[in-house]
């Protein structure tokens, strides 16, 4: 029973990471209907930045905040420079641009930091949380961070004028523009936020999977599954999907199929959701008029 509980709880910790990355995907999907294939590699690169800051001698939390700041600005710049020219291009062009970004970030990380695996520190030391047999301090910290991110985002979108403007721009760009909202900049801000959330996910997962340029491939796949399961246009659905997928992954891995087919599970889940419930649990059903 203890082992079972342990599996569920550490599944929740992994789920928190999937939920964060899924949230970043939703952030971009909501406003542009683009699925950002480069989200994982962007998060990976942010994590390398954090590693650089920490190695330069900064305390963890200062490096953390600095990484978030840099990621935010980088996200905005990517939207402005790379994504904007293909805003109205066919889907194929958009997908190829995302793939190009994925490849560029991956190779840049490999070029600058080499492909050797590095360890990444966890900020949640031994005495940070009470000792217990169910969860490691880092797992508890990850869940905590996920919830802080969620609350902050909820507060931002619900209670600030800027958050309201961003929601409006995503829901109805034309009317928003008439109401004086600068829709293009709202999209850029969305990208900045997505990059920031991705950076948090990267820094939370790096102590577990270790730092290397390909560390996010599996995480990204599970984040896709999570976002689809919850409904890729619904932030709360995506977070819930993240936790469900995290727990399911851990339980399946521990009791049913073992850990060697983890990615295949994500593949099956993605295809199954797309086939049987493309809008996910909480997504809007899209009705097309012919």
């Amino acid at each position: 029973m203890e082992a079972f509980l342990h599996q569920i709880l550490s599944g929740l910790a992994a789920g928190g990471i999937y939920a964060s990355l899924a949230l970043a995907l939703v952030m971009i999907y909501q406003s542009t209907h683009h699925i950002n294939f480069a989200q994982g590699e962007m998060a990976m690169f942010s994590t390398y930045l954090a590693w650089t800051f920490i190695n330069a001698g900064f305390p963890y939390w200062i490096a953390f905040v600095a990484t978030l700041g840099v990621s935010f600005v980088a996200g905005i710049l990517i939207e402005r420079i790379v994504i904007r020219p293909v805003e109205r291009a066919p889907v194929l062009s958009v997908v190829i641009v995302f793939i190009a970004l994925l490849v560029i970030f991956n190779s840049l990380a490999g070029w600058i930091y080499t492909y050797t695996i590095k360890s990444f520190p966890s900020p949640f030391g031994g005495s940070f949380f009470p000792q217990n047999p169910y969860m490691s301090p880092h797992e508890m910290g990850t869940i905590g961070v996920t919830f802080v991110v969620l609350i902050l985002l909820y507060a931002f979108f619900r209670f600030t004028p800027l958050g309201l403007a961003m929601r409006a721009a995503a829901q109805n760009p034309v009317s928003s523009r008439l109401a004086g909202i600068r829709v293009g900049w709202m999209l850029a801000l969305g990208w900045g936020l997505a990059a920031t959330i991705g950076a948090i996910a990267g820094m939370m997962v790096a102590p577990v999977v270790y730092l290397d340029p390909n560390m996010m491939a599996g995480v990204l796949l599970y984040a896709f599954a999570a976002a689809l399961l919850g409904g890729i246009d619904n932030p709360f659905g995506a977070v819930l999907g993240g936790f469900i997928v995290g727990v399911a992954e851990n339980l399946l891995g521990a009791y049913v199929i073992g850990t060697e087919l983890k990615l295949t599970v994500a593949l099956v889940l993605i295809v199954a959701v797309l086939l049987f419930k493309p809008s996910g649990f909480f997504g809007r059903v899209i009705v097309t008029r012919v």
Partner: protein
């Protein structure tokens, strides 16, 4: 959009000359260079297949590395376990991939644009892990993979193994290109393009979208599978880590660089993905991919038609007096 027209005498002679030039090429090259060109032809077959699906039919696949792997493993297992001659593995690889492609194409009918890209991307990422799976190890050789023998030239021809394999691959490629050209220039090609550009109008005109799209997926996988089988024979080795998601991405790079929805684009794209990494490797291990990424952006922004359309524009300008 213009589809390739009929074959007048001048073009026919031109094509024959190109094939002839390609056929004598290995006699001026070392065995190693010949091997590299064999691989380029293998990539050309794959890119042709991917282009039928993505270029002509507009279904985005980021997972063709999976079909390449299935073809390669089919050839390797048949040769290693059952002693099947190398040439006989090609139809088998093609058939198996056609079935897999067709089956993957059926659910893909319901997925459009980004979602299809997502599903195929997941397929590409999961492929190496599937190939390493323990239950399949008896067949696939697990992480170690399978080593196969390079075929000798038949009838005691005085050729090196590499040159013979080059000529064999070239022959297969020519046959597959002629078949693709015949599929695409007529009614079927028009139907595929119509389904890409105006799906609703095409269906209203009586084009059966489900049949055409899933068959396109099957044929595309068939080409990729035959390419995979030839690739395995040329490399003499298959292992899970040769079939990562980056292989699938390099195929996408190939069709974008070569030119979407063109036949000749497959050749330019294949030369690009075969030889550019070779040169870029000397700078850094990461350099080929950095170049791929940059080149993708440049082509999408500046010349979305790729090399093939660019050349077409240039020749049109020269010929117009």
């Amino acid at each position: 959009m213009r589809t390739d027209g009929g074959l007048d005498g001048r073009r026919m002679i031109g094509m024959l000359l190109v094939v002839l030039a390609l056929a004598v090429l290995p006699f001026f090259l070392s065995d190693y260079r010949t091997f590299q060109f064999t691989q380029a032809i293998v990539y050309a077959i794959v890119l042709l297949g991917l282009n039928i699906l993505t270029g002509y039919n507009g279904q985005i696949s980021l997972g063709h590395g999976a079909f390449f792997a299935i073809g390669a493993y089919t050839a390797a297992i048949l040769m290693d376990r059952f002693g099947v001659p190398y040439w006989a593995t090609l139809p088998a690889a093609g058939f198996i991939c056609f079935v897999f492609g067709f089956l993957f194409g059926l659910p893909a009918l319901r997925l459009q644009g980004h979602y299809l890209a997502l599903a195929t991307f997941a397929l590409a990422v999961a492929t190496p892990q599937l190939l390493k799976y323990k239950r399949l190890e008896e067949w696939t050789g697990g992480v170690q993979g399978i080593v196969i023998m390079k075929p000798d030239p038949p009838f005691g021809l005085p050729l090196s193994q590499d040159r013979w394999l080059y000529l064999f691959t070239l022959f297969v490629a020519v046959v597959l290109f002629v078949v693709a050209w015949n599929i695409l220039r007529g009614r079927t090609g028009r139907a595929l393009i119509a389904l890409r550009d105006q799906p609703i109008a095409a269906e209203a005109m009586g084009v059966n979208g489900a049949v055409y799209k899933s068959t396109a997926f099957g044929i595309s996988a068939l080409y990729t599978g035959i390419g995979g089988a030839l690739g395995a024979i040329a490399v003499q080795f298959v292992a899970p880590d040769s079939f990562t998601a980056f292989l699938s991405i390099s195929f996408v790079v190939g069709i974008v660089v070569g030119g979407l929805a063109t036949l000749s684009g497959a050749i330019w794209g294949a030369l690009f993905i075969q030889f550019v990494p070779n040169f870029a490797d000397q700078i850094s291990k990461a350099a080929p991919w950095a170049i791929y990424g940059a080149v993708l952006l440049v082509f999408i922004y500046l010349m979305p038609g790729g090399v093939a359309w660019m050349l077409r524009g240039v020749t049109a300008k020269i010929l117009r007096r």
